[in-house]
């Protein structure tokens, strides 16, 4: 999973793609209107593909509704991602400060870890010796 910033950028790119898809859907499937009673809709030429592929009004409406819903959902995703961006309440100085502190703590913890490992090894050796002596006996 990528970080939230990349997710957000991807979501925005997808929104753009949805814009384009929606635009072309409407551009492709709208119906034709006349401006005044004398106008006629020219019949499409047989040797060319028709410019618009008019859908029945209810199908067109349903398609628009679906696309609009998708757009809104994507928008909500984007806003959710925005509000979940991490660390908005830390300034750069704070961050550097805490990085430094963490580094020191890490060093201390690492030393402690090594001591603990050493201690464990020593005790293990002792235990081992004891067990061996028991077996020998």
């Amino acid at each position: 999973m990528s970080d939230r910033l990349s997710q957000l950028q991807e979501a925005v790119d997808q929104l753009m793609e949805q814009f384009i898809a929606t635009y072309f859907y409407i551009d492709r499937h709208h119906d034709l209107k006349t401006f005044n009673p004398k106008d006629t809709i020219a019949p499409s030429k047989a040797d060319q593909p028709p410019e618009v592929d008019t859908l029945p009004p209810d199908v067109f409406q349903a398609g628009q509704l679906e696309l609009a819903r998708d757009l809104i959902t994507r928008e909500q995703q984007i806003e959710y991602l925005i509000s979940s961006l991490p660390g908005l309440d830390n300034s750069e100085q704070d961050q550097l400060q805490s990085i430094k502190e963490l580094e020191e703590e890490l060093n201390v913890a690492e030393k402690q870890r090594q001591e603990a490992v050493k201690e464990k090894d020593e005790v293990l050796v002792k235990l081992d010796q004891t067990l061996r002596s028991i077996r020998r006996y």
Binding site: Q9, T130, S133, Y137
Partner: protein, 356 residues
């Protein structure tokens, strides 16, 4: 003669010839270069592996081919016709010819051209009013925006004007502003798309301006996010370090717990097994001589059992002693044997209990 032959083969060959300086890589040259490098490293007190380039080699020798060329002096070069820069930095929106909407992020690589940033936060129903910083911005490009900084505000809007150089405002407010700014941008995207559809249904020729607006909005969105990346990277580093710290501490605690447990086992064993350990020590030295004694003791005071170290060994092995011993203490040896296995069983029982 040789030259013309070379030329002919260069023309005829399917693959291009290697670069001309390949002949400079002779063993003697490599040797000489390694010496020069070594000398340079010792002069400057750095390890030889860190020397990438020795600055002033004699220009007329072949040795200059043995090291990478120097960095370009002005920090830029061209690759496949594209200008490249040594410094990887985020190109400011303004220099890419894109209008900036909203305030620049504090600490970002971009520098503000105007000294005064006026941030206007509106509470009105129309949430699609992006922050405007610049009243020279053409208002026609974004009908949903107005340069509110210079206009009398309607009573329903509250204005927070922060006149600040970037970074001097309280950090929380800056980040709130960033949040708000991103949300406004995203809402502006939707609204501008709606407007684009409206315009295209009425006057398709006028749609390109709106499409350009959408483009500006998208670019701004991405730019703001990219400006935010260093912050995010630091944040992620902090998170990683925190995780590592927790992990290390958990490991330490686990190690200590195991050590503690093992020590307890040792103590538990110690209370049971110390005599046994002693008897082993004695047994090592005393098997040969003490066979008769031990046998007598073991038979006599079977209640104590333990002090008569040699006996169990003798009894078990049965090889070091003569006929006399076997004949005398057959019963005692049996008893010893039984006690030995009891002890052993107890020791392992303690162990089992500790490790369960």
């Amino acid at each position: 003669m040789a030259d013309t032959e070379d030329d002919n083969s260069a023309l005829a060959s399917f693959f291009p010839d290697p670069p001309l300086f390949w002949k400079a890589f002779t063993p003697s040259n490599l040797q000489a270069y390694a010496e020069i490098k070594q000398q340079y490293a010792s002069q400057h007190g750095i390890p030889v592996e860190d020397v990438i380039r020795v600055p002033d080699l004699p220009a007329d020798s072949d040795l200059i081919y043995l090291q990478p060329p120097a960095e370009p002096k002005d920090g830029t070069w061209r690759l496949y016709g594209e200008p490249q820069s040594l410094e990887e930095s985020l190109q400011p929106l303004e220099s890419a010819g894109i209008e900036r909407l909203g305030p620049p992020l504090p600490g970002s690589t971009t520098t503000s051209t105007s000294d005064t940033q006026t941030t206007t936060i509106t509470d009105s129903q129309s949430t699609t009013q992006p922050t405007t910083t610049d009243d020279t911005q053409p208002t026609s490009a974004f009908p949903s925006q107005q340069p509110t900084s210079q206009l009398p505000l309607p009573p329903s809007t509250s204005t927070i004007s922060t006149t600040s150089a970037p970074g001097s405002a309280p950090s929380t407010q800056i980040h709130d502003t960033l949040h708000l700014h991103l949300k406004r941008l995203s809402k502006s995207l939707l609204l501008n798309f709606l407007e684009l559809l409206g315009i295209m249904s009425l006057d398709p020729a006028a749609g390109s301006a709106k499409a350009a607006d959408l483009r500006t909005l998208f670019l701004n969105f991405h730019h703001v996010l990219n400006e935010y990346r260093p912050h995010q990277a630091r944040e992620q580093l902090i998170q990683l370090m925190q995780e590592r710290l927790d992990q290390t501490r958990a490991e330490t605690a686990a190690n200590r717990a195991v050590a503690e447990k093992a020590r307890r086992v040792l103590e538990g064993l110690g209370s049971v097994e110390i005599p046994a350990v002693d008897s082993v020590g004695v047994a090592g030295t005393g098997t040969g001589t003490g066979g008769g004694d031990g046998g007598g003791d073991g038979g006599g005071d079977g209640g104590y059992g333990l002090p008569s170290g040699p006996v169990p060994v003798g009894a078990r092995t049965g090889t070091t002693v003569g006929d006399r011993r076997v004949g005398v203490d057959g019963e005692g040896a049996e008893e010893e044997e039984k006690r030995y296995w009891e002890r052993e069983g107890m020791g392992w029982g303690v162990l089992d209990a500790e490790f369960a």
